[in-house]
């Protein structure tokens, strides 16, 4: 029996208080997420239960009980305090999916710091932009990523604590670097968890927009109220589940549902710190008897490419429930998953700013393959007319996905950018930036983005950030980055580039520019294709008409070109 039971009944009678009561949120003045994900689980008698089983790419395995998580996070919290990290300071977590990332996240929260997880594949410029914006004081980092920080730290005066979690014992720390080994540090059984209020910032996740620099979506401790109940009702996490969330905590899914939700529920989760490989994934799930699997459409489509034969070599009978997030899950993938695993993937829709699942397919509910599903209980969702911002009442008509503000995990602002935050609201609705329609049975159907942001493998990449970085390449005169359709990743980055005089288009030039962006920003931002052009289409005021280039890639109508220069 699923936790949610009847969706309709839950939707009618729902109140967020239900989640607060189950969590005993606020009891004894405690609102800190760190407490609910470690100490509280132990107080409920689950200290000896495994909270994390970690496997590295070499096959090395580490296991942590909830009591281990409690004690190690205490140790990290105290260490940070002793090093001068204060309540409200931003602490970046810049690591692969190692145990210190997951437990460090809890440790930072326990001492009242604001966690700032960043994807470890970010290049130095992407890293600099985000650390500079947040005025980050400390960073926890693996030695393999340290060179990136060393190259930019002189430009980051606030970054005074660079904590290397796996340094060689004989290594000499450079200025502002300190060495810390979680499992060798004196274990701290008791730590006075900082009594933050429910509205105090907990996490900053950076996300990209069409213009300007990436924005830090700032969440509060009370987000756990939504993350807990959605983990329970959508992911249907049960006490005996072995749960695998394939997302990296550098992105919001990896923290909301890779740390907070499952640990607040006291569930055992497994983590594979390795690159993608279909059979590697199946072997991993077989080995640990994974029962609930939360993954992404891109990964599912990569698995589809390997065929059902690969699945059938493994015993995956432990799988009980499957869910997906990141970009729309196409109907073929849903149908394939039923053939391959005997279960359908349940698509879920939400974003960095919403902090928790908003629209989704529920266990037990009829799935319409390709649909986003229905709003979570407590969430009022609609689609709005693009001009009037009034809800559309005609079934099947496309509009802007909008949510009525007020759910617990909603971002409280963009860090240092209230103006952009305010611009996300129209007519009393939060505008997600995506387009969809609603059918006569209330199911939402995703159509696409309402802006130029590129959704590649479920991650949003801002064209402005790529174009700015491209201009730093010695050969690039001007550029435009757009999303291009891709059968696996939904979209990939394509760059149109006009070269400076004296430079000629060539295959070597293309590769050089691709690698330049990959190292500066991230592999996600790297153009998968470059088209060299003599010049870019511009408006008469000189603005590059990105929309025109994008329409060409998607085979769409070009639309109004009356402002086009030289047309």
């Amino acid at each position: 029996m699923s936790h949610i039971g009847s969706y309709e009944e839950r939707y009618k009678s729902f109140n967020w208080k239900q989640s607060e009561e189950e969590l005993e949120y606020g009891k004894n003045g405690m609102y800190n997420i760190g407490y609910y994900c470690s100490d509280r689980v132990c107080e409920k008698g689950n200290g000896k239960k495994l909270g994390l089983i970690w496997e590295g790419f070499t096959g090395e395995v580490k296991k942590y009980t909830y009591d281990d998580i409690r004690v190690y996070s205490n140790t990290i919290a105290k260490y940070l305090q002793d090093k001068g990290v204060n309540v409200g300071d931003r602490v970046c977590l810049f690591m692969d999916k190692v145990p210190e990332l997951y437990i460090g996240f809890i440790g930072v929260l326990k001492m009242g710091g604001i966690t700032q997880p960043l994807f470890s594949a970010f290049g130095e410029e992407a890293l600099f932009t985000r650390l500079d914006d947040a005025k980050t004081k400390a960073i926890m980092i693996q030695k393999k990523h340290l060179p990136k920080v060393r190259r930019i730290k002189d430009k980051l005066p606030d970054l005074t604590k660079i904590i290397v979690i796996d340094a060689d014992e004989a290594a000499t720390p450079q200025i502002n670097e300190i060495h810390f080994w979680m499992e060798k540090a004196p274990k701290l059984d008791k730590f006075d968890i900082v009594r933050v209020g429910p509205e105090v910032p907990s996490v900053i996740h950076y996300t990209s927009g069409t213009t300007g620099k990436p924005k830090g979506a700032q969440h509060a401790h009370s987000s756990i109220i939504a993350q807990y109940i959605t983990s329970k009702w959508v992911l249907d996490l049960q006490s005996d589940d072995i749960y695998w969330c394939t997302a990296d905590p550098g992105w919001v899914t990896g923290t909301s549902y890779g740390i907070i939700g499952p640990w607040a529920l006291g569930v055992t989760q497994v983590v594979l710190d390795a690159g993608f490989g279909a059979e590697k994934w199946y072997a991993f799930m077989q080995k640990y008897k994974v029962s609930m699997w939360y993954s992404a459409p891109t990964a599912i489509r990569l698995l589809m490419k390997e065929g059902i034969e690969a699945v059938k070599k493994y015993d995956l009978s432990s799988l009980r429930h499957l869910a997906s997030v990141g970009e729309p899950l196409n109907a073929e993938a849903v149908v394939w998953s039923e053939k391959a695993f005997g279960k359908m993937f349940h698509d879920s829709y939400w974003q960095t700013e919403t902090g928790a699942i908003m629209i989704t397919n529920y266990p037990g509910m009829k799935i319409k393959p390709g649909s986003m599903g229905k709003p979570f209980p407590g969430i009022t969702a609609t689609v709005l007319n693009t001009k009037t911002y009034e809800p559309i009442t005609t079934a099947g008509m496309v509009g802007l996905i909008a949510l009525k503000p007020g759910w617990p995990s909603m971002m409280r602002s963009y860090w240092n950018n209230k103006t952009t935050y305010d611009s996300k609201f129209k007519n009393g609705w939060y505008i997600c930036g995506d387009r969809a329609s609603i059918d006569s049975e209330g199911y939402f159907w995703f159509v696409g983005r309402d802006d130029d942001v590129i959704n590649t493998a479920g991650h949003l990449v801002g064209p402005f950030e790529i174009e700015s970085a491209l201009l730093e390449h010695k050969a690039v005169a001007e550029s435009a980055a757009v999303g291009k359709p891709d059968p696996v990743n939904m979209e990939v980055v394509k760059a149109f580039i006009a070269l400076k005089p004296g430079f000629e288009p060539s295959g070597d030039m293309e590769l050089d520019i691709m690698n330049f962006i990959r190292k500066k920003l991230s592999p996600l931002a790297m153009p998968q294709e470059i088209e060299f052009v003599p010049s870019l289409p511009k408006t008469r005021s000189g603005k590059i008409m990105r929309r025109l280039l994008r329409a060409k890639e998607w085979g769409e109508e070009i639309g109004d070109t009356s402002t086009l220069e030289n047309d």
Binding site: T58, K143, D273, G277, M514, P523, Q528
Partner: protein, 84 residues
């Protein structure tokens, strides 16, 4: 000859996908994709490097994570399309 090619690929991987002082060693058996040294997005640039260096076109359905998972695997892939 084949040893020279392996070295060329290893040198490229080290130069493009690893930090200079990362301390990570790469040899012909080192796992590239499953270790995370080269992620699935970056595979595109590695594929392009191989295609340009060896004047071949590797079909997308052959460019799998497994086929790129070590320099030895890449050598086997290249042998399908060239006379190396």
């Amino acid at each position: 000859m084949s040893e020279d090619i392996k070295k060329m690929i290893i040198d490229y991987v080290k130069k493009e996908y690893l930090e200079e002082d990362s301390g990570v060693d790469v040899n012909e058996n080192t796992k590239l994709i499953s270790s995370g040294i080269v992620d699935s997005f970056s595979m595109v640039s590695l594929k392009m490097f191989l295609e340009k260096k060896f004047l071949v076109k590797i079909p997308d359905d052959k460019a799998t994570p497994e086929a790129f998972d070590s320099v030895n695997n890449i050598m086997n892939l290249l042998k399908e399309f060239t006379k190396i």
